[in-house]
């Protein structure tokens, strides 16, 4: 991060302006494409401006956790490929990759978007496991919102694969969809100086003081949050951010069919 650009971002924000001419709360253009992958049970590609994220849902039969014998589960994985940004390296997942996948996982899990009980095939023995894999194709800022939108869009299109003798027949799908009880949407808010900024670009992300990701359901209930960045947030900040997140997630939800 060039120091001069950080100062420039801060200077513009004091005048309520942004480097790319957007308003503080304005998102870039959002595009959602469904069924990108032939082999996945559900997939979607989401682009917010130049940021592109691919998400896929694969399903497999697994054994349930012993404390929840009648429930399936989800596993969210994210990989920051070097193809997406010059800052990403090959190797074991970085802290950012883990955070990305955990926050997506939390947003889906905590509001019980997927009814785990409906993923049960045979109690105590066999359940469906949902693997949601997230691959950023280009990082131009705000990977979190794009990744979550892609994950939800992929889940929405996901269908159960064909099952024969309790084994999955790969490449053959049924028409039965995964029912979503709720559709959460995540919105990431940045605090730079004393201003709140939405949908940050890469440069703005690097200039942040604090960050809050809020997941909101369609009933406008907050179901998950994640705080990031070096500096703190006051109660007032958080109140303001949550109000804004609720307002913005309604707008973001319109991008999903």
């Amino acid at each position: 991060m060039l120091q001069i650009n950080k100062e420039y971002i801060n200077l513009l924000l004091t005048h309520d302006q942004r480097v790319d001419g957007r308003k503080l709360e304005q998102y870039r253009d959002i595009k959602v494409e469904y069924n990108i992958s032939e082999n996945a049970e559900g997939s979607a590609k989401v682009s917010i401006g130049d940021t592109v994220v691919l998400a896929g849902v694969k399903m497999d039969v697994g054994t349930p956790f012993t404390d929840k014998p009648d429930q399936g589960s989800i596993v969210v994985g994210a990989e920051l490929l070097p193809l997406a940004s010059e800052d990403f390296e090959l190797g074991p997942p970085s802290g950012d990759a883990i955070e990305l996948s955990r926050v997506v996982d939390r947003g889906i899990r905590e509001c019980q978007a997927v009814d785990f009980k409906k993923l049960c095939i045979k109690e105590g023995e066999k359940v469906w496991m949902l693997f949601i894999d997230i691959y950023p194709l280009n990082d131009a800022g705000n990977l979190q919102d794009a990744a979550f939108l892609a994950a939800i869009a992929a889940l929405k299109t996901a269908v159960f694969p064909k099952l024969e003798n309790d084994k999955v027949v790969f490449g053959e799908f049924t028409k039965e969809k995964i029912t979503l009880q709720r559709v959460p949407i995540e919105c990431t808010l940045l605090k730079i100086g004393d201003k709140i900024v939405l949908d940050p670009t890469l440069e703005e992300e690097r200039a942040l003081d604090a960050r809050l990701t809020v997941a909101v359901t369609e009933e406008n209930k907050v179901c998950a949050m994640q705080k990031g960045g070096e500096k703190g947030l006051s109660m007032d900040d958080i109140d303001k951010m949550i109000t804004l997140a609720i307002e913005k997630t309604q707008e973001l939800r319109k991008n999903l069919k």
Binding site: L2, Q3, I4, Y8, V19, G21
Partner: protein, 228 residues
Amino acid sequence: MGELKVKEKDLVIPGEILAEGMDYLPSTGTFREGEHILSSLVGLTYISGRLIKVIPLSGKYVPKKDDMVIGTVKNITLNGWIIELGGPYTGMLTLKEASSDFIERGADLSQYFDFGDMLVTKIVNITKSKIIDFTMKGPGLRKLKGGKVIQITPSKVPRVIGKQGSMISMIKESTGCRVIIGQNGRVWISGNKPEEELKATRAIMIIEQESHTEGLTDKIKNFLEKGV
């Protein structure tokens, strides 16, 4: 007789034969192997008389002597500053070349140039192993204050400047911004209004993306006048 295998502004890949025979001469981005001239880069060919060169589509900055560049202070040592150019090579700005003032022994060097400061500087010397020496003595060489810096592909810098600086002076006049272009692809933009800076930035981005197309000057002129 020599034979040309490519046309002007053809897209070539490394190892592609550009010409046969000894009538043509390899220039930057090309090399000779036996009777052939081959490309060593992914880029567009330019033919001037007998010379063939390949301008890369993208790539990192490779320093050259006498280039004016925009560098960042990466470290401060006992006798100078380490300057980084956004490429694989870093260089040294010594006390002698930094200022015409007398700098006392043991003085706090960060009061002149601090970490993260951006400097418009010039490469005075460069060794074979790419150890670079900078100078701050010369017209226009200074520390940058305010404004913003964007990064473009270094190979597109000549197109942003234009013939005898025609392109850049058009942008400067139209937007009223002050613009400095370093040969390492960093462009410093500072204007009175953010909208003007944004316009200048967009214009430079268009040049970077469409530098190989025809009628670029008209396109930029159109953009600056009408905003399309």
